[in-house]
Amino acid sequence: MGARRYLRLGYDSIEQRLARVGQTMSDSEGTALEKTRHGSRRDEMQALFPSLQSRAWLAHPNRMLFGAYDGKMPDSFNGFTELESQLQYRFPIVSFYQAWGDRPDEAHFPLRTIETIDRLGSVPMVTWEPWVRDFDSTLRPNLPPPAEREYASLASIARGDYDFYVTAWAREAAQYGKPIFIRFAHEMNDPYRYPWGPQNGNRPDDFIAAWKHVHLIFQKMNATNVLWVWSPHISMPWFEYYYPGAEWVDWVGTGVLNYGDVAQWSRWWTFHQIIEKAYPTLQKLGKPIMITEFGSLTSGGDAVEWYDHAFHDMHDKYAGIRGVVFFNQPRDVTLSAQPLDWSVMQSDRMRNTVRMVLTHSQ
């Protein structure tokens, strides 16, 4: 249908203009805030982390970097600021998720969210998920129908089928210019989770080829401000076969989420139990390690103890870990309709435990 294309063109040009206008308005509101409040979060961050805007330093930080994702993001930062005020801490990394696709929240480089995080003085981390079926067939006549796209999608990314999207995104990322963590196609080795997993005929070689292809596009677009976070699921064996190589990766990451006893396949595992086996492999890669999704449910054990032990173990046994991103999602419905609460603010004890650790890290 031709009308959709015209709508799209109209949308793109209006959207980009509005985004610019919106950013200008938001910046002037931010300037007004600085006056009424005598300072800004950015000033505080600069005092605490003077090198945070340096890509080189971020690739080899000499101290622990904490970060957080909040379930309300990117539409609202309410949950995030609530978390920060309860923990009396400012997170240098702010994490959020974006899927590929043609929906308005997917179609472009998420400039407004990223600029907002930048204005707050932190570094954004985008978990960039190749949901290739989200591309609109009427706009993309060259792509196969959505149902057929997911089989071997990583090979088709490597082949360049989605360059139209990756290139535009990379160009905008380059224009933005300041450091961004990108966690592309995470948990690629888990056959139970995402469509880009091995269950869809995606082999390790395909993943590596896709990763390199995307990486090269970013290089070609001069988006060298990006820090690449390679993030497998460490509970699955042989994840190391998905590693693209040292020159293609800046950080290695993994989620450490304790589901307690909420699912049949899960039981109460400590941080140590989850990471123990994989850690030597991760460490051997010689990159800073980031716990990209960090948290524990409360069902089936003592979550306060879990956090307490996790931080101790990080300090004592896992010194290669340089980044921890809290998964502050109080309503996670990805596992079941019953929402799961990953928040660290479920009790005063829990909050105080986490707060102590964060305060000491400064």
């Binding site: 007004a32 930062f77 907002t116």
Partner: protein, 562 residues
């Protein structure tokens, strides 16, 4: 509505006119516009109703209701204008309205002898009924009765009078009208008509509003359609001669132009033309078949739905054959609107279910749409509340990108306006009626509280007294007249001030920075709401005691309409 100059020449105003005939190329253009319009609405709908757009669910439901109510009103207008059809002109003999009637250019002078019936042997016997009630000015009847006397087709004029004022009987005698003393009859105007039906015998009855001045050709233009035995009533355009006298009069008139132009012609085309407003001509046997003229606040509409249900056909004649008065001051307008809205709900809740089974599909749709016309009161409230609620609580009804919204909504809006402007070529008096009608729109939305009150009264089954609409301009206390729009403006200003303070001093920096556009957008909606209140506010100022000393009469201290 064009410049005031168009309204200066009485000989231009009190002159027969007919809506321009519909040319073949115009139908094609209309068809294309409607097709594009429909397409834009479908695209908008497919986009609007997506799960990812739902913010706060109850608010999304409310916002969807308001938005799609508005679009459905537009669609109904399109549906009507799609059926646009003009009744054939009666042939020169005045017998049957031939289907290939002669083309008459509306700009040409009165239709001379065409369609005229001069002798009673040719056609049916006709009565003109006009009613007078206590408090109505005698001078108005002088003009109306004199004009009724000058109507060319032989007829008897009856003055249905309950003023108990001997001067009215005297005036009737002078003007050659029959004076019927009809005091103490319940059912207001309709009650008197029914009583008069029993005392008279004419086959055809023109119910003439007392503030309307009929032109000599009025009956000639109407009677031919009764040759079809199945036609129960013939409605003519309702037009005004006092429209330029005040903002309210202009606005009120503007609200009617499209309806008495292309819309009713479309309803004629789908056999749903209603008796509404003034100067409907009925067949006696038709009225008798439904037990007389309907009673109620919207008595004409009650009568129309009953006649349609009884199988009678209706004809709409898009011609200016009389001109009357439209309310000139805010208080009168609000009272009239409350009465109408309450009456229309009465038809929707009481008459419509009863008639439903016996109506045609077109009529079912049409009466449902008329019956829900005044829901604009409810949707306006929704539009008022949503941005204020966001600024106070942060509840967002919809998660939509402004750019996406604009891209999808603009085609609908542009085509809606294009079709509205295009169909204005079929207005009965385009020179005076065409335009953007912003006054009418402002006042309609400004009166939301009245329409909402009517809905509440209807749901609570509370009656509204039947008072004839005031015929003179009255003034009132500014604060009483302006209470609602001032309230809205004050509340809006206070909420915006509160929100700005919250953002500057309380909300977290991150939240402020990421919600700038959403907040600016909502403040924009608040500003639009304030603009929509300006019409009623301005009217209240112009009609307050303090601005208009002398001249106008002071309104009674009865409670305001809303």
């Amino acid at each position: 509505m064009r410049s005031t100059r168009a309204w200066q020449d009485d000989s231009e105003i009190f002159r027969w006119r007919r809506a321009k005939p519909i040319a073949r190329w115009e139908r094609w253009v209309l068809g294309v516009l409607l097709f594009l319009g429909l397409q834009s609405v479908v695209v908008f709908a497919l986009w609007w109703f997506r799960a990812e757009h739902v913010g706060n669910l109850p608010l999304f439901v409310l916002l969807s209701f308001a938005t799609w109510y508005g679009i459905s009103r537009m669609l109904v207008g399109w549906y009507n204008v799609f059926h646009i059809e003009q009744p054939a002109l009666p042939d020169p003999e005045g017998r049957t309205p031939s289907s290939a009637g002669p083309r008459v250019n509306a700009a040409v002078a009165a239709p001379a002898d065409e369609g005229v019936r001069h002798s009673i042997e040719d056609g049916p016997s006709v009565a003109i009924f006009t009613t007078s009630s206590p408090g109505e000015p005698l001078a108005m009847f002088e003009r109306t009765l004199a004009a009724a006397r000058d109507v060319r087709y032989p007829h008897t004029t009856y003055l249905l009078d309950d003023t108990r004022d001997p001067r009215f009987a005297e005036l009737a005698r002078e003007m050659g009208a029959v004076h019927l003393e009809l005091t103490g009859i319940p059912g207001a105007k309709a009650g008197k008509i029914n009583a008069a039906l029993k005392q008279t015998s004419e086959e055809i009855i023109l119910v003439l509003d007392p503030d309307h001045i009929p032109f000599p050709e009025i009956l000639d233009r109407v009677l031919g359609h009764f040759d079809d035995e199945r036609v129960g009533f013939v409605q003519v355009a309702q037009t005004y001669y006092n429209a330029p006298r005040s903002f309210v009069a202009r606005a009120a008139a503007e609200q009617t132009f499209a309806f008495y132009g292309p819309i009713l012609q479309g309803m004629h085309g789908s056999a749903t033309a209603v008796a509404i407003g003034a100067n409907c001509t009925f067949r006696r046997t038709a009225l008798e078949s439904i037990g007389g003229h309907g009673v109620g606040l919207a008595e004409d509409l009650v009568t129309a739905i009953r006649l349609h249900a009884a199988g009678w056909k209706s004809v709409y004649v898009p011609e200016v054959v009389a001109r009357g008065l439209v309310p000139e001051d805010l208080d009168s307008f609000l009272r009239q609107q409350l009465k109408w809205a309450r009456g229309v709900y009465e038809v929707l809740f009481r008459e419509y279910p009863r008639a439903f089974r016996r109506l045609t599909m077109h009529q079912r749709i049409s009466y449902a749409m008329i019956g829900t016309y005044y829901l604009v009161g409810l949707t306006s409230l929704i539009y008022l509340v949503i941005p204020l609620l966001y600024l106070i609580t942060g509840f967002q009804p919809a998660a939509m990108f402004l750019a996406e919204y604009l891209v999808h909504a603009l085609p609908v809006g542009i085509l809606g306006v294009a079709i509205y402007r295009f169909m204005q070529r079929w207005m009965c008096d385009p020179e005076r009626e065409r335009g953007w009608h912003w006054r009418g729109t402002l006042l309609k939305i400004g009166c939301w509280s009245v329409y909402l009150k009517a809905l509440m009264l209807a749901l609570g089954n509370v009656a509204v007294p039947y008072i004839p609409t005031a015929k003179e301009r009255r003034t009132g206390n500014f604060w009483r007249l302006a209470a609602v729009p001032l309230g809205v403006v004050t509340l809006s200003a206070a909420t915006v001030a509160y929100a700005v303070m919250q953002r500057l001093f309380v909300l977290s920096e991150a939240e402020v920075r990421i919600t700038t556009e959403a907040t600016a957008g909502m403040i924009g909606f608040v500003a639009v709401n304030v603009v929509f209140m300006s019409g009623r506010l301005y009217a209240a100022w112009k009609d307050s005691d303090h601005t208009r000393r002398g001249g106008a009469t002071k309104s009674h201290s009865s409670p305001s309409a809303g």
